[in-house]
Amino acid sequence: MEDIISILITTIRVSTPLILACLAGLYSERAGIVDIGLEGKLLGSAFGAAVVASVTGNVWLGLLAGIGVSMMFSAVHGLASINFRGNQIISGVALNFLASGLTVFLGAAWFGRGGNTPPLTGDARFYGIRLPFAQEVSGVPIIGPIYSGLLSGHTILTYLAFLAVPLTAWVLWRTRFGLRLRAVGENPKALDTAGMSVSWLRYKALMITAVLVGMGGAYLSTAQAASFSREMSSGRGYIALAALIFAKWKPYPALGACLLFGFLEAMQYRLQGVDLPLIGRVPTQAMQALPYVLTILLLAGFVGRAIAPKAAGQPYVKER
């Protein structure tokens, strides 16, 4: 039981940035903009958040800065793929490179620590929040470990990430914005001829993307770790993208997919060097490849053909 709880706790922590990035990608791709630059945005906003948090000593300003950085990235991505009708994948790849170069370059120039920021302490980072009565309940069997151990004690960003899932579902299916968002990813012309601006709608979606992925980046450097270090996003943006496809661009399945990837990672840490029954000791590297192998198997086996929003990846061309 305790083992399971502890793996699940790790799962939640590891999943948090994935969920945020995955939902971010959902808004963008639902609006018809493929965002392979999630990785770069995560990295960039992790950097922005850590820099500002360490300079000001205020983690909330850091969070804002993180979001600000991903906003800038989104703006460039929007400019390239909405205004200049460029290839969205190339734009994303370019942003990933940019984040990987600029963060270290600027970080080294500003802090002289090879691109890393100074460690964050005190108010400059997020801490776990103890839910009400967590202390009191902790002794109760079953409920205790689940409530006090599993559910309590995460940072505000984790709770926000989980809240963002139902919120996204609600926005998508119950609001005017959601209707238009879904439409613009399927058939932008339908919106255009109905008198709405395709570009503006897509920019709005990209801004939401930026907010969410900015929170994800801030989580990496100010909640999970307590400083920025180079390449710290280490592929999470790509995993989030895979999760999004796996979830067929739907919010609750996206949550499920991210938790699954988080769980695989948690298991991977857990099973290293452990003698498994029948199999024996599996090489570390095999354990570490497991989430990726499973992703491929799941994509190929279970999901079948994932049908993306029809207009995703295609620039909307409108002659004036």
Partner: protein
């Protein structure tokens, strides 16, 4: 001028390369002697970097890291008047090369012993960046030290990643540390360079003890880092610069272990409260025993295996 070319992890990796940098910096501060340094971005640049420095007359040239060996072997003979220092591997068949290697396993033995004495849960952790032999040598020494104190102590070992990029994944370090803590580890030793920052952070946040590596990392979380396994790369670099400046350069192989004070456990104000007198005494005894040869610490690199 002397030159220093960093290994893959880059100048400020918070451990190995940074330690080399600190040595060079200290020399400059003390003597006013400037030096040149460079970070490389790929294996192809290794030879290029050395050759370029040598061609420009930089002398001596310091190469921290065993990955320099191949490049050094092809360049050094072309520049017989230039002196080279390579750290972490032995190149003894070329005239103008000095080699410095450390007995990391001895230092790790000490911190392993300290961890075994400090643990209350009977479980301690080791976190290498990824699975390769140098880091295994750290781990193996650590395990021997722990077993020396108490054979019952369990050592959990979890790698962060699979390649050099794992050195830059503090988030991974945090998660690995937390998962070890969840499994009961209450002292955790990392050999993960930059990612170790995440390990020590997680340990501090969770109220367990971390153990730093390479340079003295006790100050990162005062009172929450039990000790650090220091590896005096800085001293090796400093000495090289100094010897050259004083015309005392020797092309020899220096093996720096506990006896030479090339490795050791760090004690300072930051961890004073954590180290009991008894622990301190034990460490001193062990140190003496290792120096005298009474205790032989096995080096993983010799046969790629660990007795414990």
């Amino acid at each position: 001028d002397p030159a220093l070319v960093y290994d893959g992890g880059g100048k400020f990796d918070a451990s190995f390369n940074e330690s080399a940098y600190n040595g060079a910096q200290r020399f400059m501060d003390e003597t006013g002697q400037a030096y040149q340094d460079l970070e490389i971005s790929g294996d192809a640049q290794r030879e290029q970097a050395i050759r370029q420095f040598a061609a420009r007359g930089n002398n001596p040239i310091v190469l921290p890291g065993f990955s320099w060996e191949t490049a050094l072997r092809s360049v050094a003979p072309d520049f017989p008047d230039t002196s080279f220092l390579i750290i972490d591997t032995v190149v003894d068949d070329i005239e103008n090369v000095r080699s410095v290697v450390f007995k990391e396993h001895e230092g790790s033995f000490l911190v392993g012993a300290l961890a075994a004495m400090a643990t209350e849960s009977g479980t301690i952790g080791f976190i290498p960046a990824f699975d390769f032999s140098l880091l295994q040598a750290f781990g193996c020494g650590y395990k021997q030290g722990a077993a020396y104190i108490d054979p019952e102590v369990e050592v959990i070992e979890t790698a962060i990643g699979t390649g050099f990029d794992a050195f830059n994944n503090p988030g991974g370090g945090t998660e690995v540390a937390l998962s070890q803590i969840d499994r009961g580890a209450d002292v955790i030793y990392h050999a993960a360079g930059g990612a170790g920052v995440g390990v020590l952070q997680a340990a501090a946040d969770s109220g367990v003890l971390g153990i730093g590596v390479d340079s003295n990392q006790n100050h990162l979380h005062p009172g929450q880092v039990l000790t650090s396994m220091i590896k005096r790369v800085d001293v090796a670099v400093y000495n090289a610069f100094e010897d050259f400046a004083n015309d005392e350069w020797t092309n020899d192989v220096q093996v720096l272990g506990l006896a030479e004070e090339g490795v050791g456990a760090a004690f300072d104000d930051n961890n004073a409260e954590l180290i009991t007198d008894e622990m301190r005494t034990t460490v001193d005894e062990i140190t003496a025993a290792i120096i005298s040869g009474e205790i032989v610490v096995h080096d993983y690199r010799e046969d790629e295996s660990c007795p414990v």
